[in-house]
């Protein structure tokens, strides 16, 4: 990960840690999930190609004529009722809106452009690269020895241009974004170099041989797409007989690659609390354990969401003082193994 405005960079290496992470194509995940769902078909029923068009919530004070379960109306007219409704319907969650839960949201002036890229030469493609340009971070995520995935967050106008331009120009833009030093200033470079020597005096581990990001040769024809970026956080994750998970509860900038991980974390936590409640014979929709899930996840999520938002704003500028701040900050963090391990 490095800055376009200076030489500062931070490297996370696998040697001191267990597997740092996994990059898995969405289609592969979907296929695995479908297989698992088939295996439990006696307990899970999936209605493909159907939509919910209406929700009826139970009243909290039990007025006895109405059923105290959640009623759902589907687009084909079918009606379902449930003890617990889980809203996993993304950042524009209808479940959240129908439950009248306030959502703190903020649209970034950015869209992300994604594409599947073919590298100029086959390589041990096991490094994820991210460079913070003033317009936004550009990231290359490895998929195979010859293929990487692009996530380029930039202004709406630039994103539209990138998606519209011919393939050759698109590839040129990507390579230039990774290699160009146009945004460096002498002042920052000198300040950065000074800081680096100061650190190496204190910590003579030295910098490892600097690996270079791969060059891109071509882009998969139909793979270019863009979507707008924003930040969002629901003020409540749960209500009586309802829980929100994933992007329905929180939405973050892709710069830290954490969006889906937050969702996975929500799922693990909710499953844990629901299973404990079930073993106690509790009503699954009861607020008591749902609130435990909410507290646990909000405590974890809020700090991460805020940090990502702060990073996004910090790296969105060319202003010298802020560039200096983040340059030194990044260099210092790179030199501190305990901090890196925590991250």
């Amino acid at each position: 990960v490095w800055d376009a405005c200076s030489e500062a960079m931070i490297v996370f290496e696998k040697d001191d840690l267990d597997d740092m992470g996994y990059i898995v194509e969405n289609d592969v995940i979907m296929s695995a999930l479908t297989k698992q769902l088939d295996a439990v078909a006696d307990r899970v029923e999936v209605f493909y190609g159907s939509r919910a068009v209406g929700y009826t919530w139970p009243f909290p004070s039990r007025s006895c004529d109405t059923s105290p379960w959640v009623q759902i109306e589907l687009d084909d007219g079918r009606r379902l009722q449930t003890k617990l409704l889980i809203g996993a319907d993304g950042h524009n969650s209808v479940v959240r809106k129908e439950a009248e839960i306030k959502n703190i949201e903020h649209q970034y002036d950015q869209s992300a452009v994604v594409a599947t890229l073919h590298l100029a030469e086959a390589t041990d493609n096991n490094v994820a690269w991210q460079r913070f340009l003033p317009t936004g971070p550009i990231a290359l995520l490895p998929l195979s020895d010859t293929v990487s995935s692009l996530v380029w967050s930039t202004s709406h106008e630039h994103a539209l241009e990138l998606v519209a331009m011919d393939e050759e120009s698109f590839v040129d833009s990507i390579n230039s974004a990774f290699w160009s030093n146009a945004n460096h200033s002498d002042f920052i470079d000198t300040a950065g170099a000074m800081f680096r020597s100061a650190i190496s005096l204190l910590k003579p581990s030295g910098t490892a041989v600097r690996q270079l990001p791969p060059s891109v040769a071509k882009v998969d024809p139909e793979s270019r797409a863009m979507f707008p970026l924003g930040m969002g956080h629901a003020t409540e994750y749960v209500q009586h007989r309802m829980a929100l998970i994933g992007d329905a509860a929180h939405r973050v900038h892709p710069l830290a690659g954490q969006g889906v991980n937050l969702g996975f974390g929500d799922i693990a936590c909710l499953a844990h609390h629901l299973s404990a409640a079930a073993f106690n014979g509790s009503d699954l929709g009861s607020l008591k354990h749902l609130l435990k899930f909410e507290t646990e996840r909000q405590r974890h999520n809020v700090s991460l969401i805020t940090a990502i938002d702060v990073l996004k704003r910090l790296y969105s500028t060319k202003l010298t003082p802020l560039v200096l701040l983040r340059t030194w900050g990044l260099q210092a963090t790179n030199a501190l193994p305990p901090v890196k391990v925590r991250i």
């Binding site: 039990r62 003890k83 079930a278 073993f279 106690n280 014979g281 509790s282 009503d283 009861s286």
Partner: protein, 289 residues
Amino acid sequence: QLSLFRLTMKRLFSTSHSSVDSKEMKKFQLLAHKWWDEEGEYSALHSMNDIRVPFIRDTLLNVSSNYHLGNPLSGVKILDVGCGGGLLSEPLARLGASVTGIDPLEDNIRTADQHKSFDPVLDKRIQYKSCSLEEIVEESMETFDVIVASEVVEHVADLEMFINCCSQVLKPEGSLFITTINKTQLSYVLGVVVAEKIIGIVPEGTHEWEKFVPPEELEHLLESKGFTVKTVNGMLYNPFLGSWSWMESTSINYAMHAVKLGAQGQSSPTDDLSEMESEQRSAVAGTAV
């Protein structure tokens, strides 16, 4: 010592032939519709499920080694005596048991029936009946695997008859679970004064300290009626967190698990030991109280 004597005298001269106390019934009548408000008058009973359901569940799971994963209590017939609005019947039924809930107050049964009707699984597994324990003895001799009498014995008029009836409707080697309040100075201060009059976690007038039952007395009574007491645990309510926990001392609330002796009245080596222990404890209690 003196109060124990007075209690015994009261029972000897009691003219009622029922375990149901009509004065007690009136107290609960007023609150019949409040059962299922988790934050309302009965919130302490709702949160008591967090320890009494696992206690019952784990004790029964220890007895039978094979159980169905989704329904650990499947095949178990439970009688919930004094079920009220069904607060304890429902979780036990969700764990797979077939539950019969009885309560002398019709309004309670009506509330319980209506609440379970929304859940088709519970509707099938639970049967509620408005009656007293004595009234079902004849038709339910040795019918149930488990009897649960939670927060009940401190309200009954004739405890001895109550235990007798429990024994009659319970299968041999069946389990009896009781939770109730001890009769100590501490339980008066915390269980009545603080709980009812000061903090108001229990509706005022719910409990009469005179009717509280010390665990030694209960144990003695159970053993004289053919039960072996297996476990006694103290319980503590934290009013700030609204939650219950186990504690060593039984000086306020406690839970007891007893097993009805087998058909031939034989006891296993462990039973002999606990009988000796309980005899010692009763002897100590006689001098200490």
